[in-house]
């Protein structure tokens, strides 16, 4: 098998995969690690950007081939699946039966195990909270305890720590998920243009109570005077048939170009074009995949950033100072001329997650990509981190390759509880970086 990496291709650290095809292999590998005092890490489909899916030993348990249904009750919408199944594979079966994921990230190529380990959130965080809230049970394999069936009522502490547990509390072999009913695979979409952040916050306050899915794209290359302009998308599941899974049609970027295909010129042109095409538009219907997973159509699009890779910066800022802090972040990025294409703004609601280290908190989340440019990127991130820290916000480990140990430990005070529950044979480069340095 080929070596594996993280989505941002930064840090570059090729991972040796040990593929898992059958559930019983997980325990066997765990024992092997324990017996020779080696460490490893479970790896899903590598859709995390930074180093949280990279093992400190560069040896990962590749879970992706484990993609079977174990049990499915299509009457109740309750499914138990192996952890390597992607969200897309699950939807491919469930949609035809009238069920959708209660929470989905912006890619359907994440695995169920990965979605739990990062306790991912979607555009409906204000309604449904995080992925972990819809998990009824987890089959966990630990190198010290063997197989543990955990749930909100059995081994609850371990269960909660595993939601957003970054793959450190044991290997998730299977999970039971509660799906949500849908009548249609189409999304009713409303699109509203806004010219600045003030307008964004006003629209968001008004529409969050009316729509399940809300997200906004912000043009971060707009002239400084227009910073904060963007497009707000509000969506809901349509209420009329058909309920049909959509074939996954994709175009693959076959090779990594020797230099990044994006530079400030091409990006600015793209962004302007995007905003010219995306004004306010009347309500319309869109297929679920176009609405939730626009980026999945271009397989391995991360390659366009070239051999040096890229980083995503995602933070959440609590409501109080959100408008000011987000404005400052966008202006700083604009002044440094570094940000790429589009930034994503999302509201996080106040629904708590049972997970110990879940990222969302009530506030606004901002995410955008930066081509990796060494020192320049590092310096910019120092300034951004400062703004986030002052506003009481925090960064998302699933996207992170840079945050300081101090920032992490201050923002995620429960980290020590996770460390106490960590499987001694599992360790990621991320965890090493933020807890040991």
């Amino acid at each position: 098998m080929k070596t594996l990496g993280s989505w941002g291709r930064y840090p570059y650290s090729p991972q040796q995969p040990i593929p898992c095809h059958w559930r019983q292999q997980v325990a066997e590998q765990g024992l092997a690690w324990r017996d020779c005092q080696a460490v490893g890490l479970p790896y899903g489909n590598g859709r995390s950007y930074g180093d949280s899916c990279l093992a400190s030993s560069d040896q990962v348990l590749y879970m992706r081939p484990l993609a079977r249904f174990i049990e499915a009750d299509w009457q109740q919408g309750l499914v138990t699946v192996e952890a390597g199944m992607t969200l897309g594979e699950l939807l491919q079966c469930s949609i035809a039966k009238g069920w959708f994921l209660p929470v989905t990230p912006g890619t359907r190529l994440a695995t169920v195990g990965g979605a739990i380990a990062n306790d991912v959130h979607g555009k409906n965080h204000h309604v449904q909270g995080t992925f972990g809230r819809h998990v009824d049970g987890i089959e966990l394999v630990r190198t010290d305890l063997g197989l543990v069936q955990c749930s909100p009522t059995a081994h609850a502490e371990l269960f909660n720590a595993t939601l957003g547990g970054l793959g450190l509390t044991g290997v998730i072999v299977a999970a039971t998920l509660r799906l949500r009913r849908i009548a249609s695979s189409k999304i009713r979409l409303q699109q509203i243009r806004f010219d600045n952040l003030r307008e964004y916050f006003a629209i968001s306050r008004e529409l969050d109570i009316r729509h399940e899915y809300n997200v906004a794209w912000v043009d971060c290359l707009a002239p400084l005077s227009q910073i904060g302009r963007g497009v707000f998308l509000a969506g809901d599941h349509h209420d009329q048939a058909p309920c049909k899974p959509r074939p996954v049609t994709t175009v693959r970027i076959p090779i990594t170009p020797p230099i990044p295909l994006f530079n400030q010129l091409t990006l600015r042109a793209l962004n302007s074009l995007y905003f010219r095409c995306k004004g306010t538009r009347p309500e319309r219907l869109q297929d679920y995949d176009a609405f939730f997973y626009p980026l999945d159509r271009l397989l391995e699009w991360n390659r366009i950033y070239g051999p040096w890779g890229f980083q995503q910066y995602q933070c959440v800022i609590p409501h109080g100072d959100a408008e000011e802090a987000v404005g400052e972040l966008l202006a700083t990025i604009r002044r440094h001329n570094e940000g790429s294409f589009l930034a994503v703004l999302k509201n996080c609601g106040d629904m708590p997650s049972p997970g110990l280290l879940s990222f969302p908190m009530p506030g606004v989340s901002l995410a955008l990509d930066f081509p990796q440019r060494g020192e320049r990127t590092r310096k910019l991130f120092l300034i951004l981190d400062h703004i986030v820290r002052d506003a009481g916000g925090r960064l998302y480990p699933a996207k992170d390759a840079h945050m300081s140990g101090d920032d992490f430990r201050a923002a995620y005070p429960a980290w020590e509880r996770l460390e106490n529950l960590r499987d001694p044979a599992l360790l990621s480069q991320f965890w090493q970086r933020v807890t040991l340095q």
């Binding site: 098998m1 593929p19 059958w22 079977r68 174990i70 049990e71 079966c93 035809a96």
Partner: protein, 246 residues
Amino acid sequence: MNNILIIGGTSAIATACARLWAEQHSRFMLVGRNAEKLQQTAADLQARGATEVQTHILDLDDLDGHAAMLERTQQLLQRIDIALVAHGSLPDQPMCERDPDYAVRAFTSNGLNVIALLTRLGNLMEVQGGGSIAVISSVAGERGRPSNYLYGSAKAAVSVFCSGLRARLFKSNVHLLTIKPGFVDTPMTQGLALPGLLLAQPDRVARDILSALQKRRLTLYTPWFWAPIMAVIKSIPEFAFKRLSL
């Protein structure tokens, strides 16, 4: 709805095919040697929409067990619309060179037991007077390479046997598809260092197999680029080929 018999029902390639058939609400008989793996595969297909999944435990090297297995299949499925023969294992080539007993066993596992099975299955389908048999052979059976010529020669035997059987069964309206995959990312190839660009995922291969069955194709190279690759490899004269260490 199809009635489908899969020999080597826990193989990754066969499972990928079965998942597509399950979506079309097929009925299955899965044959394999590992009860636990069969059960896990059956549960998966059931959840994906299969109307019925039966399993039968059999090591295909046990040639005497073939008849009972086929009899039970006929009882349970009545008619077999598609039979997919997918079992196989990659022998340790250096071991084949040292140990003739091992070599013969490896040849049996990948060649002779397929021939034995197809003999009975062919007769059954002939009497039934219709349906398709799909046999997974390999591009490795097209030319002997020093790195795996035992496996290659067993697959060559399977391919030639299939072409003869096809011509015979054709008269009874039974279709036979010989499948020649290149490198596929499955447990069988796990330990090998294969060139990433040529390595296909099982679901890709499965889609090719289903479409070839539908079109009643005779031979399938999957992914398609193996047809030109093999054309080139077959055209190299033996005196030059022997110097290439492939």
